[in-house]
Each structure stands twice: as structure tokens, then as C-alpha cells.
């Protein structure tokens, strides 16, 4: 090879900043992205022929979104860009790409994984009904397609995205029936000092909540979800919850958007044999990296929410940091001042993220206590009772064995949407801390490939 090949996976804020940093250093990176157009999920672009402007689409983040899009467009002549392409395996120094039914293995000197995140879910009775969507999904419908997921939408979960998407829906003219937060309001007060690390983000959050209340939308904190009600044929009809005060309330609706923060997409890091460690603050297993984003596997770098959920703004910082680390390891000169600036910014975002985790905690007790009849695995309609049985009757001691017995984590989503709750259920059934439930091992392909996928002649 004439020059080291650097592959960037993902073209969200982290991937775009990584690619930009590499190009500035004279490297022509491969940028492989599952999306049709760059931007990732957070700065996802609307379809061709849509006309809404940046302010309408991205609100307070309009300038950042525009800058990410324009930066990437300007990089076009200097990169090998593969849109609509899935990286489905990483093995033996090669990334396996798949697009339009063809696959090819591309060797790399450095691999920068910016794979993003998906919603973290607590299973709720009835969440398998048509009309239940992830919060991120509800946002995609609006941003990319100018649609609401229903005619009467309830937002359930916790975290900043809950209020953001609900407010975006209300502003766009959708009917929001209620915003139901499982976190008690007192947690937000306790987290205030950490949240103040990003005053403008804190302010945005307060403004959104106020706007929802002003619009007359019920906004409840400290709720316990009871059930999403509906009909298997026609879908969601209502949601029932218990309020912080203990009374039961029912909200009629034809759609529920649910999510409890995000979980990183760590499958490629896992396949690249990176070491993982349990993070007590988020109760997630995360790939181990140094401050710059080097994983424990030489030549593999991790950035953005796919490494650790620190938000879109921080993804720009960690994307650049990871690219700089890769460049340094390839023998390029570093810039100590720039690195210090980036590390300081990352530290501030990390403080803010800890504040968010405290203000809007993952309701692990709720996940652990999901009723036996409730489906944990939405892909294959497997209930919590079957999962508990794999522990109590069949002797599974951790998530992978329980998966083999119950199929929870084996379906279409490969554990993305059941894994977090399943670990809590397994650990509780064994009376152990959740760290003991371990983590689901990632398998290639990380997403289903068509059976007819052929080796590319390229």
C-alpha cells in the first residue's frame, strides 16, 4: 500500500470530524456509512424533495447540523465515500462491507468506529403492539419524513430526548397526549450542579419542558408504566401508568414513543476483540479506551456515542480526538495544544453526561421487576417469565446462556432492544448485581444480510 488505509465507520458528527481531521493530514480515508446521506441520526437529513429549513429541522442545533453537512460535502473529492453500506464484521485487520447484495473485505491500518447509539428500552406490557416506537424512531419520522407516528402520541421514558422529541412534535402540529417521565423530579434538582457544566443545554431542556406545559400537555414525573393497551390487529389504543402519588391514570392514544436514554452500538468493537468494562454510572458494558479513543486492540479507535454516550456535540470532539490518535500512531506529528483543548471539552461533556444519568436515571428496578407475562423480546415474543425460567429452572448464570435457553437476544434486533432489561432481569432472578449477568457477545453479521450476498469482484 502506498499510504496507510484508514477506515472511518459512520458519517454522523464523530465520523465527519474524524474524516475531516484525516483529510487535513493528507490521508484519503474510506468513509463507510449505513445512511444514504451523511449526518448520522442526530443530524439526519430529510428525503430528497423536502423543503423545510435547518431551523425548523434542527432547532437550537441548526448551525451545528449545517456545519456537519457542509463539512462533509466539502470532503467529497478527498475521501472514498461508501454510503448505504453496512460494516458487518471486523476480523483479522479487515472490515467487511456489504452494499446492494455484494460484500468485500477491506484491510485497514487504522479503523475509527463511530457507530452511534440506539434507544435503551424498558419493556412495558403491550410494547409489541403496532404503534409503539422508539423515541429516536419517533424523531426520525418527523425529521426525515415530516410525519408523526400517530394521531395522538404519548411519550414515555426518561432523558433529554423525551422532552426534545415531544416538544418537536407539539411544535410541528402533532397532538401530544402526555409526556410521562419515570424519573422523579427530585433527581433533576440533585443533578443541577453537574448539569450546569453545559449551561446552554440545561437552558434548552428547561425551555422545552416549559413549552410543553404551556401548550397544556400533561407532563408527569416519577411515573410507573403499567401497560400499553390495544388490539393485536389494530394496535395501540391507550397507556396506563401509576403516578408518583400512587393513583392510576389512563391516556388514550394511538401511538407510544418510548426510550430511556441511549445505548452505544458496540458490536464492531466487540468483533474487533476490544476489552469491555462495566460502567457503574450507566449500568452498561462499554469498550475500554484511553482518553483519546484508542481501544485495547491496536489500530482500532472508538468515538462518538458508539463508544460512550456523551451526546452529539461531544461526538464532534471525540471524532477529532480519535483521528488525531490514529494519525499519531501512524507517525504523523501531533498538536499538543489542540489535544489539550479537545480533552478539556470532552471532560466537560462527560460531567454533563453524568449529570443527565443522575437527573434521568435508568430505572433498573423497574426493568428487573417486569411482570412474567410481559414480553422482553419483542422480536420473538418471549416473555420475562420464560427468561426467568432459563435462570431458575435451567440454571443459566449469565446473559449468553440465558439467551441460548430463552432466545432473548437472539432475534432480529440481536439484543439491541431487550439486552439492557434482560441483564437486569437475569441478575435480579439470581439475586446478584447486574454486572454478574455479563453482556451479550456480538455476532457477525451485526445485522441480517440477504442470503444471496455475493463476494464483490472489486
Amino acid at each position: 500500500m502506498a499510504e496507510p488505509r484508514v477506515i472511518v465507520v459512520g458519517a454522523g458528527p464523530a465520523g465527519v470530524r474524524a474524516a475531516q481531521t484525516l483529510v487535513k493530514a493528507g490521508i484519503r480515508p474510506f468513509v463507510v456509512d449505513e445512511g444514504r446521506r451523511a449526518g448520522g441520526q442526530i443530524y439526519r437529513r430529510q428525503g430528497e424533495g423536502f423543503t423545510r429549513g435547518y431551523d425548523e429541522l434542527y432547532g437550537t442545533e441548526a448551525d451545528r447540523a449545517r456545519d456537519i453537512h457542509e463539512t462533509f460535502e466539502a470532503l467529497a473529492p478527498s475521501i472514498d465515500y461508501r454510503p448505504d453500506t453496512l460494516v458487518w464484521n471486523v476480523a483479522e485487520g479487515r472490515a467487511w462491507l456489504s452494499s446492494a447484495g455484494e460484500t468485500e473485505a477491506v484491510p485497514y491500518s487504522a479503523l475509527i468506529v463511530c457507530s452511534g447509539a440506539t434507544d435503551r428500552i424498558v419493556p412495558v406490557s403491550g410494547w409489541n403492539l403496532a404503534g409503539t416506537y422508539s423515541l429516536g424512531g419517533a424523531q426520525v419520522a418527523l425529521k426525515a419524513q415530516a410525519c408523526a407516528i400517530g394521531h395522538e402520541v404519548v411519550f414515555l421514558g426518561t432523558g433529554p430526548l423525551l422532552y426534545l422529541v415531544a416538544a418537536q412534535y407539539a411544535k410541528a402540529g402533532a397532538r401530544v397526549a402526555a409526556v410521562l417521565d419515570t424519573s422523579p423530579f427530585s433527581a433533576r434538582i440533585a443533578a443541577f450542579p453537574q448539569l450546569a457544566a453545559q449551561p446552554d443545554l440545561l437552558w434548552t431542556g428547561l425551555t422545552l419542558t416549559l413549552a410543553l406545559k404551556r401548550a397544556g400537555i400533561p407532563v408527569l414525573s416519577g411515573v410507573t408504566p403499567v401497560a400499553i393497551e390495544g388490539d393485536p390487529e389494530t394496535g395501540v389504543q391507550a397507556i396506563r401508568i401509576r403516578t408518583a402519588g400512587g393513583s392510576e391514570r389512563r391516556f388514550a392514544c394511538d401511538a407510544v414513543a418510548m426510550g430511556w436514554h441511549l445505548r452505544p452500538e458496540t458490536q464492531l468493537a466487540d468483533l474487533a476483540r476490544c476489552t469491555f468494562a462495566f460502567d457503574e454510572g450507566t449500568r452498561q458494558w462499554l469498550p475500554v479506551t484511553d482518553a483519546d479513543g484508542r481501544s485495547t486492540t491496536p489500530g482500532v479507535y472508538l468515538a462518538g456515542d458508539g463508544a460512550r454516550v456523551l451526546g452529539a456535540r461531544c461526538a464532534e470532539v471525540t471524532g477529532e480526538l480519535a483521528a488525531r490518535a490514529a494519525l499519531a500512531d501512524l507517525g504523523h506529528p501531533g498538536d499538543a495544544d489542540r489535544r489539550r483543548t479537545l480533552l478539556a471539552a470532552k471532560a466537560d461533556y462527560a460531567t454533563f453526561a453524568r449529570g443527565l444519568a443522575r437527573a434521568f436515571p435508568w430505572p433498573h428496578a423497574l426493568a428487573a421487576a417486569v411482570a412474567d407475562e410481559t414480553m422482553v423480546c419483542r422480536c420473538e415474543a418471549v416473555t420475562a417469565g420464560v427468561l426467568r425460567d432459563s435462570v431458575s429452572a435451567k440454571g443459566a448464570v449469565e446473559a449468553n446462556r440465558a439467551k441460548a435457553f430463552s432466545r432473548v437476544g437472539m432475534g432480529r434486533c440481536q439484543g439491541r432492544y431487550c439486552g439492557a432489561a434482560a441483564a437486569e432481569i437475569i441478575a435480579a432472578a439470581r439475586g446478584e448485581p447486574v454486572v454478574q449477568a455479563g453482556r451479550l457477545r456480538s455476532q457477525a453479521p451485526v445485522k441480517p444480510l440477504p442470503v444471496g450476498t455475493a463476494r464483490s469482484g472489486r
Binding site: G47, C147, E233, G235, P450
Partner: protein, 102 residues
Amino acid sequence: MSGRFRRLAETDRPPVSITVDGKEIEALQGDSLMVAMLASGSALRDSEFGDGRRAGFCLMGACQDCWVWTTDGDRLRACSTVVSQGLAISTHQPEASWPNLA
């Protein structure tokens, strides 16, 4: 019938017509297949595990809940497919199903 999804804006795009289970429906150019189908219908497919109709979940290619089939038998992920004139879709999978409920 009225659809599950509600269009809030951007409705003056040129129309595109597709068929779903043999019935012609009108979509708009630039629609994802999922939006096209759910703007006029209420579901995308049957759960092969016997618990009812499904209409997708994540809209970002992660959950695979939105699979539909062309009448030729190819599988499409409705959230990441853009509609095209004349697309012929079936919401019933050609393969077997495995009801999982008593």
C-alpha cells in the same frame, strides 16, 4: 382507511403509486416505504410469533421489525427503502411462521 402515521408537512411532493397486498395506494416522492405504507394503512406485516400485526419500531435500521416483501419474494427493510413508482409489496411473508403463544 386512514393511516397510522400523520403527515404534518411537505405534502406537495409529486405522487407515486405503489401496490400493497394487491391494492393500489398513493405515496409521495421521497417517502420511505414505511411512511408510504403507514400513511394509508395501519401495519407492515404479521409477527411470525403469533402476537399480531407489526408496524416497525426504530425507524433507523436497527430493530428489523419493518421487513416487508416484494411480490417477487425479495425482503425489504421498509424504514430504509425509498418508494418508487410501481413497487409491489406484500405484508405477508412468504416463509413459514412459528407461533410462540399458547
